[in-house]
């Protein structure tokens, strides 16, 4: 049964090539846009190296301080993480890292901009960097304020022309560091590991950051059991409630250990504070609504085309009805036909999206981007295509099935 449907669908596709082209163009274009967005999102929130422990890792990123009249939002301060996020239950390791900041070096009369991240030693244990040469700096280096640095491949190219760099020094932001390790480039989309240069946080020019509750650090927590995140969070929250601030303007500090997706949701659907949970869920709903809104016009377009193409097949439908085919059978047949069409479109879209991602990578718009398609995005693409196919196939199929056989045989126009 299904086989004859598929055969029929194929024949219909080949019959009026111009119409098939129009339909495929719309479907492929729609899915290209959706898959590009999915790929971008996937590269922000999913686990790519060096985040191999991604599934067991959560972060404390946004933090806020508020009182009756003032509110300050930002990232967590080092002081907050150091005093309240250590030794939480269900946490195997806790590392800290600053948000990457732009720093400058001068050599040969040229200015070179790099991103610099200040971290502790645990950072290198949680994240799984593959060192090209040398190795990470350690907790002892951090404790002793040693001016050592790990750099990425691009920085080695810029400063040392790609020659081995371990043991040599680089000067950034007026400070001189000895290179101890070189790692591959990490795309800027991966905000937790991303940087050009990583140095111990104790090399900061002033130690005022160690007292901040809201600052520019994030905490990275490697969990024993990601299913028990609530336990970790509740303990952290109850510790925050014990904070006593001497500034009457700020009485309360909030921050939350959560997944990157939740943090992203907080960024887009939250109000910039560190309070509450469930932002990931809200982001999911927002994305779904946005995708449906975007698909609205292409779907209406395809419905229109499909409806007018059914009329072309009025006599075929008339014959089938006259020989006793039920409405349900006909709806089924037409929906299958439409799904075949959308899946062919999805395949075209998938290939086109792959080419476009290659272009985006090559253009350098996103620093060190390695955007690529994978089975997850393909699955999303197929899912969206099926949704789109159903959306645009059901109404025309229903119209078709309701056609009166006699009228249909005559070639109805209404």
């Amino acid at each position: 049964m299904l086989k004859s449907y598929l055969k029929l669908a194929w024949k219909v596709l080949l019959r009026r090539k111009f119409f098939t082209f129009i339909s495929l163009f719309g479907i492929a274009f729609t899915l290209v846009v959706l898959m590009l967005v999915s790929a971008l999102l996937d590269h922000v929130v999913a686990g790519y190296p060096p985040e191999t422990n991604h599934a067991r890792t959560v972060g404390i990123q946004f933090a806020s301080q508020r009182g009756e009249t003032w509110r300050r939002n930002g990232f967590a301060g080092y002081g907050l993480l150091d005093k309240y996020a250590r030794d939480l239950p269900n946490v195997r390791l806790m590392g800290v890292a600053s948000m990457p900041e732009g720093v400058f070096s001068y050599f040969n009369g040229q200015r070179v901009k790099s991103f610099l991240k200040r971290t502790d030693g645990v950072f290198w244990q949680i994240l799984d960097f593959q060192f090209l040469e040398g190795g990470p700096f350690t907790e002892a280096d951090v404790r002793d304020h040693r001016f050592v640095a790990v750099i990425n491949e691009a920085t080695r190219q810029r400063f040392f022309g790609g020659q081995p760099a371990v043991g040599r020094t680089i000067e950034v932001d007026g400070q001189r560091f000895t290179v101890v390790g070189v790692v591959p480039d990490v795309p800027i989309l991966r905000i937790v590991p991303f940087s050009d240069i990583w140095v111990p946080h104790t090399t900061a020019k002033s130690d005022s950051y160690t007292k901040e509750y809201v600052g520019n650090f994030i905490g990275i927590l490697l969990l024993d059991d990601p299913g028990k995140l609530a336990m970790t969070r509740d303990e952290f929250w109850s510790r925050l409630r014990t904070i006593k601030l001497d500034d009457p303007g700020f009485q309360r500090v909030d921050a939350t250990p959560e997944t990157v997706f939740d943090t992203l949701g907080r960024l887009f659907t939250g109000d910039g504070t560190g309070e509450g949970t469930g932002y990931g869920r809200r982001l999911q709903i927002a994305l779904l609504v946005a995708a449906c809104l975007f698909m609205l016009l292409p779907a209406v377009n395809l419905i229109n085309l499909n409806t007018s193409r059914i009329m072309e097949r009025a006599s075929e439908i008339g014959v089938r009805k006259a020989f006793g085919a039920s409405s349900r059978t006909l709806v089924g047949q037409f929906v299958v036909e439409n799904l075949v069409l959308t899946l062919v479109g999805a395949l075209v879209g998938f290939v086109a999206a792959g080419l476009l991602l290659g272009l985006i990578n090559a253009s350098g718009v996103i620093q060190y981007a390695e955007l690529s398609l994978n089975y997850r995005i393909f699955a999303w693409g197929v899912g969206l295509a099926v949704l789109f196919g159903l959306l645009s196939g059901v109404y025309p199929a229903w119209r078709m099935s309701r056609m009166h056989p006699v009228q249909a045989l005559k070639g109805a126009s209404r």
Partner: protein, 419 residues
Amino acid sequence: MIRHVFTLIWNRKRTNLLMMIEIFVSFLVLFAVVALGVYTADNWRRPIGFDYERVWAVEVDMQQSSDDTFDESQQETARQLMFALKEFPEIEQSAGTMLAPYQFGSSNSGYQWRGRRVDFGVAEVTDDFKDVLGLKVVEGRWFSREDDGQNYHPVVINKDARIDLFGSGPAIGQSLNGDRPDSLPSDDLPSNEVPQRIVGVVEAYREDGEFDGERNYALFRKTMLGAQPGRGDAAARRRDRPPRNLLIKVRPGTTAEFEERLVRRLQAAAPTWSFEVTPLKEMRDTSIQFAIAPLAAVGLVAAFLMLMVALGLLGVLWQTVTQRTREIGLRRAKGAARVDVQRQILGEIAVMTTLALAAGVLVAIQFPLLDIIYFVDPRVYFVGLAISVTAIYLLTLACAWYPSRMATRIEPAEALRYE
């Protein structure tokens, strides 16, 4: 004739309704993108009010995350930096400011003023700021030593604010203070409330540059000479806190080599702070890229959507003409000329487009009427509306053109025996 067209459309109401929905949705999508484009173009064409040539911004990072807390030693260091800039012969003029033009971020203020809500972009700058950026004072005067030690905070506003607040009435010498809360006795000033007096009006100062929307700006005077750092009202804090950016106007021909010497000198004056030197021209390029990139992406997607809609409509209309071969053949047999047939097809699509657009405009007009996006000038909407309506008419008529030509080629004799 028109009634006849309506009857024909009504006869095929379900198919036509779908087409009208498609035109309606296309119009809304196009309108959103066109309005955004018109808004951007309108901003681009207005003067920015300052000159970015040969001006470099030196971002000063005091290595703390809050702008509001500072102490006397930080004020002193900031003053040392300002003095250090005067040593260089390469620097014509220098000034301190909280935010540099084209820099990300903004400082805003909104409050009740003379019984209504007013919003400002706020800049806090030192006295040399006007000369570094070449601001044009059109009324009153710029900040000067005569403001020192006075019992008011001097303020310079931009022309947009001048018109918004005072219309054609006098502006110089007026107060910018917010309304006192009702709970206070009418002639009792809150202890920290110092009058904010308007001393001048500048032609324009658009901090975010070419893409900054039309809005009020208030420039406050920064001296860093406050007696009580970190205390007092918002205007006092603006006066006292160290600038986060130094703007320097360099002599022609100054190269990046000077940049390195400059940074080393500043670093020596403030060893625990960090500095980042960027020519405003570079910041402008970045700011333009950031404004254009999303617009280009949205525009590209919208263009493809419109192409898709055009192909779709072409397909549907083609199909329709094929189906109506007999009807058209009959009209031709009864003596209708080819041009009459073409006019019928085009007329039908024109009427359908009009109906869909009427609904679309009704929806689109809600934005200016309900003041949802209040900072956009209503004129921008109407220009956007006019462009989108015209574009949709052209689109649908272009799509109907080929099918309508096809209809004229139908031969009556052939059509009447067509199955």
